[in-house]
């Protein structure tokens, strides 16, 4: 099931036998993976399964030891790293807003590196603030004056600023409270669809993966052990590991549904 290009066409991101080790610990074991146009892929796995390392091989924050990563069919090994990263949006759990820059400066950082005019940067910042549902007057604030959810909205806006076609997200909403997490996830899914993005999101939250992704790959010990649409994985009967993983949300759903039924009864 793994490594096949999506039915939607030529893969945008393609990993070929990618391996990445830290000393004697192999984090990613010869992984093949392809992400198609407009696809939202979730990488699901326990901590230590190698999912974050796998994600970072795509923008070469963790350059592969062996194998190759192709974007739009071209190998990334020959591309200058910082130029590659300016074309790929990157959002991660700890956000990493620059504390000495205002919200506007944080959002405009990649356009500025690309040499956009100040005017077009300003316009883009305004546009993005609206897109991530932040009031325009936030632009002049420093990150310390924001709530956790607002910070991650700025993080998403920063990643989108230079109009990338690919977004890499490493547990982007993991540190937020459940309500904020749900609404931000849903809002991002809408952005993904509106902009026709390719999104690869790492998460350990099964429900989040099921609700947001078009396709889910499950990682264990550096390798992909299962791959499929949320529906396919929910109905998986053969793989015990996947069944166990999907049982938990199914049980929760059933109990919540039962409660809803009870409440509706007169």
């Amino acid at each position: 099931m793994t490594g096949t290009a999506d039915a939607r066409g030529q893969p945008i991101v393609e990993l070929r036998s990618v391996r990445r080790a830290f000393g004697s610990t192999v984090a990613v074991r010869d992984v093949d993976l392809a992400v198609g146009p407009s696809e939202f892929l979730a990488i699901l796995g326990e901590s230590g399964s190698g999912k974050t390392t796998l994600l970072k091989t795509i923008n070469r924050l963790q350059p592969p030891d062996r194998g190759d990563v192709l974007i739009d069919g071209r190998s990334t090994s020959a591309v200058v790293e910082h130029e590659l990263r300016r074309r790929i949006g990157y959002v991660f759990q700890r956000v990493g807003l620059f504390p000495h820059m205002t919200v506007a400066e944080n959002i405009g950082v990649t356009p500025r590196l690309l040499g956009w005019s100040e005017e077009s940067i300003r316009a883009r910042v305004d546009e993005l603030l609206a897109l991530v549902n932040l009031p325009a007057e936030m632009a002049a604030r420093l990150p310390t004056a924001l709530s956790g959810g607002q910070r991650q909205r700025v993080g998403v806006a920063r990643a989108l600023a230079a109009r990338p076609s690919i977004m890499l997200m490493d547990e982007p909403f993991g540190a937020l409270d459940p309500v904020t997490r749900d609404s931000l996830g849903a809002e991002y899914r809408l952005l993904h669809e509106r902009m026709g993005l390719v999104t690869v999101m790492v998460t350990h939250d099964v429900i989040e993966a099921l609700l947001l992704a078009d396709r889910i790959v499950v990682m264990r010990e550096g390798a992909i052990v299962a791959s499929g649409t949320p529906r396919e994985l929910m109905n998986e009967r053969t793989d015990a590991e996947v069944r166990k993983l999907m049982d938990m949300p199914r049980r929760q759903m059933t109990r919540v549904a039962a409660m809803l039924d009870d409440a509706r009864r007169p």
Partner: protein, 518 residues
Amino acid sequence: MSDRFANAWALLPGYLSQHVVLSAAAMALGLLVSLVLVVASVRSERVRWPVLAFASLIQTVPSLALLALFYPFLLAVSGLAEKVFGTGFSALGFLPSLLALALYSMLPVIRNGVAGILNIDGAIIEAARGVGMTEWQRLARVELPLAAPLLMAGVRTAAVWVIGAATLSTPVGQVSLGNYIFSGLQLQDWVSVLFGCVAAATLALVVDQLLGAIETGLARRNRWRVVAGVAALAVGIAAAALPLGRGGAASYVVGGKNFSEQLILAELMGARIAEAGGSVAQRTGLGSAVVFAALASGDVDVYVDYSGTIWANVMRRTDVLPREPMLAEIRAWLEREHGIVMLGSLGFENAYGLAMRRDRAEALGIATVADLAAHAAELSMGGDLEFFSRPEWGALQSAYGLGFASRREFEPTFMYRAVTDGEVDVISAFTSDGRIAADDLLLLGDPAGAFLPYDAIVLVAQKRASDDVLRRALAPLIGAIPLALMQEANYRVDRERDKETPAATARWLESEIAARGD
């Protein structure tokens, strides 16, 4: 008291501007090198350890020693440059002070800079890489701005250290606020010492406040504060540098060691050269070896030394000749080895001798060093800072079998006080010192002739060997200062009451010489 204060006040613009320019230049150089080392250290762990160790090591070297060590080092480099490029540079004064102070400034800047950058949250570094910054963009846009407040705290510490340590550049020939302290200490002019301390401390305080304003400006991201602090510093440095540029380089440099007689004679020679039409800079307060090396290399044009010092310390002779043959040998040797011209002897001798309080000597029945030998085992001996390492001390010990109960070293000013207070019994006195008569000390006879003659001789650098102005100005001084006159001149400067400045005493001495010459 008030005229001493006025005198110190009059010297302030010159001393302060030199002090400010030296400190600012040392800070600028130190900061530049430190920043390069900070960047290298945060990028490579293999560089970090040796850099921090080296900077810490520098800090353990006493600052005065660090300054002193740069002089011979630069002298060697200058000699090499002269061989290779045909032109050397002055190894005295500004350059050694600049380098030593720049080195001295580095530790707090490097330590804080490295800590400031390494302590940045890993998420921010990851974000900087993730948004597509290059290494240099990350440094300039993220790491340095975030480390800036801590870095500035290091700069502040360094600036206070450098301004304080710059007072120690006086002995290597750089004018600074330390001139107040060193000459004041020598002349027992406590007003001058205090003035120097207060001036240096005030300067340090003001600079610290301005750098503090910049630091808080950086921490609070208040651009106005940063700009105001930088502007105030720039104006201060520019104001200090202005008089230096206007003055132009003096054509004649008069050197001098660090005691009263040398300060008076340097003033006297300087005044005479100025009257003859030369512009004069004084480099006094120099160490004995430093001033000779400076003359030999041409950094100093003229100074007064003593025949015994040249004989024993410079020529490394251990034998003793009578006065005239010894002077002739010294003249020939200086000319042959260094091209230095010995203009002649001033007419007095400032020899070493042993002195005791007269009442104490009489009570013990001591009149000569030979008498002293019998009592030495119960007596304590005080010497100036170089006496016990001079050949005369060895000669004395072997000629008379001297063995004292204890011996101590003093700065000359305190040595006389120690013997009058009875803290030590015998001291190494200078025969031209006015305090011998004033404190009622007895100079002990030297029947074995262990002490060398110490005629005051005027030495002129090679490049001034046939300089008309210099010769015209200084020739009338040769043979014109008898011992009693020099003793009185020295006493005017050294006495506790109605103390005069070396400059005023030099004027008095010049008029005395003129009166006697008529």
